[in-house]
Amino acid sequence: MSKHVVVIGGGVAGLEAAGRLSKAGFEVSLLEKDNKTGGHLNDWYKLFPDRRNSDEVKAYLYGITLHDGIKLLTNTTIEKISGNKTHFSIITNKGKELVADAIIVATGFDLFKSARKEEYGYGIYDNVITSVELEEMFRNGKIALSNGNVPKTIGIVHCVGSRDEKVGNLYCSKLCCVTAVKQAIEIRENLPESKVFCFYMDMRMGGAYYEELYREAQEKWGVNFIRGKVSEAGEAIDNKLVIKVEDTLAGRPLKMELDMLVLMAGMEMSDGGKKIAGMGGLNTGENRFFAAADHHYGSNRSNIKGVFYAGTCTAPMNITETISHARAAVSEVMDYLRDGR
């Protein structure tokens, strides 16, 4: 009888892990809390840095997972996890028990809830939106203000919920800078008359072809970059947003009116992940993400034998890294089930 592996989470990491496990001959159950898989990929239209359609990546992932070898359980959350030395018992919200030889936790991240940065007025001022909402506008082919008008000046705020002790997140979410640059370019493509301003603390363009994208944004698209953390936004009587920032490289405070403000919300340990950490006795780090057994060579291993991590439940990662990390998790599971117990 083949071994049974339960994968928790049907986002990029979960799908990749499930597909690879199935290909390697394991019996796989894939648990997803929503009614469909795909995770955050469903929220993004085009991906950085090459701006390919996210549907293409989803198509690849669905290609390796949507078959009889993988038991997909949607709308499924976990009520209880228990285990002895060789097996785990997972009770779902539907009262079903799954017995697993190993578990891959791929619970991903939650987008930082931008309303927590109260001073930016998300959820209060009409034209303060998040990167995800802008992406939805790109998908629908219409970038518009709340009154339907086309924005002429758009500000993009980096580090919303990242590198910020006030919201309890000391870490860098790593992908917001490149997302900001990508979205800035796309705004300019869609609205050639518009002016776009990125407010950043440091441009962290650490992925392949990210820096090149940054350069393109400057060179080809005339995106303006202003170094300073936006301090607050207010709403003027004509619905324009008044923002205050220090132009730190000029050493002067700067005040600007914008039609639209886009918040680059960061990544946080998911609520689902937190719940599982609590009931499974899994260690989390100071950043609240799952703490891997070793930061350098054990990033897929947890503090419990037989439980492994894949993807952004351990730290912010891009899709490339997430897929690699999921594959690595599968390789750890294979070692474990062969001789590791």
Partner: protein
């Protein structure tokens, strides 16, 4: 008006809306590499003037971009156009030419004649 022994202070914020950025536009058109600066400060570090006075070429670029023309005008004369800065720029910005063009733009504009 000084009536009570003081005047009402004027703001020193960069007021983006009311600033005149025509000098910057003039340079963007003629020297597109002006857009490529990443504010590394390499130019200022190597700048002879910058090493003996308070002049900062990096900051001058920012001030041009923001339309802080008075401050630009006060400082731009300090540049001796030696061109050392262009040799170190990691983004290949023709930093010297930006100063040349800014001076040109000022000269062409009566309002900002140097």
């Amino acid at each position: 008006m000084e009536k009570y022994g003081y005047t009402i202070s004027k703001g020193r914020q960069i007021d983006y809306e009311s600033n005149d950025r025509r000098i910057a536009e003039y340079i963007y058109e003629r020297e597109p590499s002006f857009r490529l600066c990443i504010e590394c400060g390499g130019c200022s570090a190597t700048c002879t003037t910058g090493n003996i006075t308070k002049f900062s070429l990096r900051e001058l670029h920012i001030l041009i971009k923001r339309g802080e023309n008075d401050q630009v005008r006060q400082n731009i004369r300090k540049c001796m156009l030696c061109g050392k800065c262009t040799m170190v720029c990691p983004r290949g910005v023709n930093t010297r030419n930006i100063v040349v063009l800014a001076k040109q733009a000022f000269q062409k504009s009566d309002e900002y004649a140097i």
